[in-house]
């Protein structure tokens, strides 16, 4: 693990590794060296299994962070190769030649985040969203609640009730009232009032 991370750092201009566990580390690689790094990991680093490709929308930094999570099935090690790409007109090199399953992940990323993968087969075909005409829904600037309420005819009178508190209030109204009052007092120091009343409703 240590050697591989060191080699990644030396050869592929990777950042300092961030160890999460003994057997799980993340390391950031520049976008133009990512395919090289992953190919080397697969062919020479024994990391032959692609667990998943994930994406984080870091809207504050203006980047998408793609995570290629690789697994060494013999030594039970995981390394996540993080790649940061610009959020505007996001584009990433395709890796469909490394694992066949990658094309499915890339199709999904294209649909959900709008990341382009030139050359990946069938990447433009709709996967789950047929005929989607808004901005890709998993981007954080897409307001799902607003979209859902605009599109899908919300029903009036919708309320939520947690079974635990509901039964508590029904069976022991006095105890539950006291408990709720203490909670309110404890919380009144922080958190705005609006959110709190919303929670209770």
């Amino acid at each position: 693990m240590e050697e591989i991370l060191k080699i990644l750092k030396d050869r592929f201009d990777a950042s300092e590794p961030r160890a999460r566990r003994v057997d799980l580390s993340f390391i950031t690689v520049p976008a133009d060296r990512a395919v090289e790094a992953v190919t080397w990991m697969r062919d020479h680093g024994e990391f032959t299994h692609l667990v998943m490709i994930s994406c984080i929308d870091r809207i504050e930094d203006g980047v998408f962070e793609l995570i290629y999570l690789l697994n060494d099935p013999v030594a039970y090690l995981d390394i996540g190769i993080c790649v940061e790409i610009g959020r505007d007109d996001a584009e990433m090199e395709s890796m469909h030649h490394l694992w066949a399953v990658v094309r499915v992940y890339q199709r999904e990323l294209h649909e959900m985040f709008g990341i382009k993968f030139p050359g990946s087969p069938g990447v433009d075909e709709p996967m789950i969203l047929e005929g989607w005409d808004d901005i890709p829904p998993m981007r954080r600037d897409f307001d799902t609640l607003e979209y859902a309420e605009r599109t899908y005819y919300p029903r009036e009178g919708r309320s939520t009730s947690d079974p635990a508190t509901e039964m508590e209030e029904r069976s022991y109204p006095l105890d539950a009232g006291v408990k709720l009052g203490i909670k309110d007092l404890a919380r009144s120091g922080y958190g705005d009032k609006e959110n709190k009343t919303k929670d209770r409703e």
Partner: protein, 218 residues
């Protein structure tokens, strides 16, 4: 819960009415029947009508099309524990033969298209049961970009079974409710669909953006 009282189906404005040909490629138009469904009223003779309703209620063919996670609750119904065949209910594999469509939980937009197609292929006395809270008001998917909130805006629903997930016992209660509605002659979903055809089609087209099927799937 019963949504039968809902009577706010406003007439669809002219500009939202679209010709049936608008959505099919020219070479596909000849392949499909473009007729609209017509409401078929039940027999005027009371005894015949009652007999038909009795037969419909005591022999219900369920369309075995699991549209969401709730479909997993339908499997125990056919086993020894909750055996629903004693009520005269049997699973049927094709929409043509079936008369009860159970929407098993959340209906995403992609599934909705298939639901509409299957529903329209069923023959006239047809009943729909919304299963799970997601079909009532969105349930836990109330803020999802992809899940319809009110099923009754897209196809007529005869009975809802609330819960997340409803247990098989709740489903059996729902079946009893549907049976009661059929016996009373109140489960006229197919005729309702034919009468408010424009309204349903407008709602369906609002969410199904890539409409590539005929107006009514005969």
């Amino acid at each position: 819960m019963d949504d039968r009282k809902m009577k706010h189906r406003s007439p669809v404005p002219e500009e939202e009415l679209l010709s049936p040909d608008a959505f099919l490629a020219p070479e596909e138009r000849g392949l499909f029947c473009q007729d609209r469904p017509e409401p078929v009223e039940p027999s005027k003779v009371k005894i015949v009508r009652d007999f038909c309703n009795w037969a419909q209620a005591n022999s219900i063919f369920i369309l075995a099309f699991g549209t969401g996670c709730g479909a997993i609750e339908m499997r125990p119904l056919f086993t020894a524990r909750y055996d629903i065949s004693r009520y005269g209910m049997f699973p049927r594999p094709t929409p043509r033969m079936s008369s009860l469509f159970i929407i098993g939980g959340y209906a995403s937009v992609k599934t909705m298209k298939r639901i509409v197609r299957s529903y329209e292929q069923m023959q006239n006395p047809k009943f729909v049961m919304g299963l799970g809270s997601c079909t009532v008001n969105g349930g836990m998917y109330y803020d999802s970009y992809n899940t319809v909130k009110r099923l009754d805006h897209y196809i007529p629903v005869d009975a809802y079974v609330a819960g997340c997930m409803p247990r098989p016992e709740s489903l059996i209660a729902g079946f009893r409710r549907i049976k009661k509605l059929i016996m009373e002659g109140k489960a006229e979903g197919a005729n309702e669909y034919a009468k408010n055809f424009e309204w349903y089609k407008r709602n369906q087209r609002r969410i199904i953006k890539d409409w590539n099927m005929p107006e009514y799937n005969w």
